[in-house]
């Protein structure tokens, strides 16, 4: 889980071009949206593609985004629960 979260942080920083944010600065439970890291609905769509690209997970309904993308930990949990074993 720790490894997955570290990887996710780096991928989020890169995909969203979060200048001046270091992956290690993002807390495991820090809210990603609004007052937390300040991400918005477009970032949620970017993360949906990120999960598809890196983890083969498809989220068909963007309405699920806010729930799954609350924090790096919730995303990691979602990945662990949904990733099909290789």
């Amino acid at each position: 889980m720790e490894k997955l979260m570290a990887a996710l942080k780096a991928q989020i920083v890169e995909q969203l071009n979060l200048q001046e944010v270091k992956p290690e600065d993002i807390g495991d439970d820090q809210p990603l949206f609004k007052d937390g890291l300040g991400l918005d609905s477009i970032d949620a769509l970017e993360i949906i593609v990120l999960l598809q690209q890196h983890y083969g997970i498809r989220i068909a309904n963007p309405e699920q985004g806010p729930e799954i993308f609350r924090s790096v930990r919730t995303i990691a949990e979602f990945i662990t629960a949904h990733q099909t074993p290789k």
């Binding site: 969203l16 200048q19 769509l45």
Partner: protein, 354 residues
Amino acid sequence: MYIYIQGTGCVSPQETAAGNTFPAAVLPWEGPRLKAWEPDYKQWIDVKLIRRMSRVIKMGVAAAKLSLQEAGVEIPDAIITGTAYGCLDDTGVFLSKMINQQEEMLTPTAFIQSTHNTVAGQIALMLGCHAYNNTFVHKGFSFESALLDSIMILREGRSSSILAGAMDELTNHSFNILSRFDLYKKEPVTHEQLLKSTTHGTVAGEGAACFVLGTEKGPNTKAKLTGLTTLYKPAGKAEISPDITSFLAAHNCSQEEVSLVITGRNGDAAGDEWYEYVEDTLFAGKPVAGFKHLCGEYPTAASFGMWMGNRILAEQEVPAAALLKGTVPDHIKKVLIYNHYKQTHHSLILLTVC
């Protein structure tokens, strides 16, 4: 009704964004591609917004902010931009990924930022400005249409300050493709030689220039926008002279009253013949200045010309690097800017000192 230039801002291949005055020295360039000198955008733009912005958006927002600062206007009554190419970089990014990834796994950021009105929309978003917002995308008339819309809205009498500007960026793709259309010089050329060139082609440029136009003088107003007109595909050089004469007459200005002519001369032999014809037939003996050796050629380059014209009136001095011929009078009263883009889109802008 007079229309005053209350503030200006310019990002260009020269250091115009540094102090919003005419730079003391010309930034030299080599080869047929001029790149904008970019300021530290973080002084105007939140890092959370900057991360999604391509260069044209940053240049446009910076020029807008500079002009609003100079005008002392926080929220304008309208935001009107002109851009021939729009957000080319984001367009190229999305298009390339779409083709390379066979329409799969695409992300939205480049697409939404590729929209032509992104710059005007971002300015509104940053300022929290709910006013009229429009974007003109008509090749060599993009800037002029934005100015004309501003003038017409100011004449309606319900707006006092309008932000009007133009921006275009050059990307690797656009420079490659435009080069294949044989627009640029094959031989090496410098800023000192370009406007004396007798060969085909010019150099590519880019930039953003914004103006706050208002019905009242602002604290930093130095000039009025007296007149503006466009001429689409004139039949020949002979058609442009009567057009210029009647344009000046419509604004109660004789040829003698024009203190300085700024032309869009760009070193392309065939295109420059238009300027020479007008200089010789209408303005013989008048001082002439040029600007495309400073900013390069692009469809909205007239906005750099207007920025320079305003600076010249403000400082009552023509920078040595810009003066092409003649002697500048002690009092510079009226400046006429005559520009054409690829000989098809001609425009005239008349500025008067305040």
